[in-house]
Symmetry: C2
Subunit: 199 residues, 2 copies
Amino acid sequence: MTTAKRKRMPRAERMRQMVEVAEQVFSARGYAAASMDEIAELVGVSKPMLYEYFNSKEGLLLACIRESRSVLREVTEQATVGAATAEDALRRGLLAFFVFIRERREAWSLLRHEMALIGTPAADEVEETRRQQTDLIAALMSGYFDSGDELRAEAAAEFVVGACERLAIWCERHDEVSPEMATEYAMDVLWSGLRSRAR
Amino acid sequence: MTTAKRKRMPRAERMRQMVEVAEQVFSARGYAAASMDEIAELVGVSKPMLYEYFNSKEGLLLACIRESRSVLREVTEQATVGAATAEDALRRGLLAFFVFIRERREAWSLLRHEMALIGTPAADEVEETRRQQTDLIAALMSGYFDSGDELRAEAAAEFVVGACERLAIWCERHDEVSPEMATEYAMDVLWSGLRSRAR
DNA sequence: GATCTACCTTACTCAGAGTAGGTTACTACC
DNA sequence: GGTAGTAACCTACTCTGAGTAAGGTAGATC
């Protein structure tokens, strides 16, 4: 019964627990409104412990963002492994993303909202997450597209990431839109273009 | 010489001045790191004056965001008035947007970054700006597209806004990309779709 | 059972948001 | 020109929450 009523926890376990609680509090209240005292209390530990492990409030936020990012990467990378065509790869990746944001709301909320701290590490961290996804897309696409204009390809990848991010936020307001439908909408514009729908 | 060395200013003028200074400070330091004391000092006035006029730090931020938004609206709406086709309207609107973010960096920075305060009025205010643009696009498009699936059309508009926002951020890192090129890249994906570039 | 160390606490400092209450310059009217 | 009224403004505070100093305690190891 090592786990029974034990108050003291090994460092790694305590850290995981702190990140878990912090993710919830940050996404519920927002970074600014969340207080370290509250997080500490919910964890069942005193405030200096949080500082011992994460150095600062922002450090704790960083840990949460990194955690979310690694999950997102895992999920989207896995999704595209068996794709045969560019269209298929794109569709699978999109679906994985839209499933992720539905199933891991808190995680997504952090990635979505906490870009406030311009010039601080946290903002860079969120940008890094987008870059991760952009690179993934660029890499995927480079295998399928004619590599002409390098800049243009990069722009296209950015474009896809931004579009999907916004569509994901839109999905939050529309519970009736399933990840499959969202994917379908995204594919529609991205793959076929608006021209195909013009009168 | 009413404007010469006058210390006291009429309310409206002082407010405009405060918003102007605040816009710079917020975009330079970020909302969290900006202090009301500093803004007050730069304006050449004491802190309670800021509170007299804007009630809170967030109120001041709100005023800045609203200011930026109204300029953005002005600019993009004007740009699309004479468009003959959907393609033309889209292109003109995009160009106006990309010119705006280049010429009014501080204003854009606010709209871009200050979405941190989830659940607070400022976040809503930034969302409202996106909605403004989304509505604009949706209205424009509805004139040109077959109105089939309502939800799909809404999703497409969200998509365009998100994509452009991200592309705009990408442009910040790429000074060599002119507003015209950005517009071209955007049109390429949006109008023709990725399929047209697949091997 | 002594000691060592990693986990944890109480009790502070300090910066910055927000406020209470008084002061001064401009205006309007006699 | 003088004086009453008010809009603009200030000094000097409170209070919340991030971050820290210094010390206490459980549990492993010998």
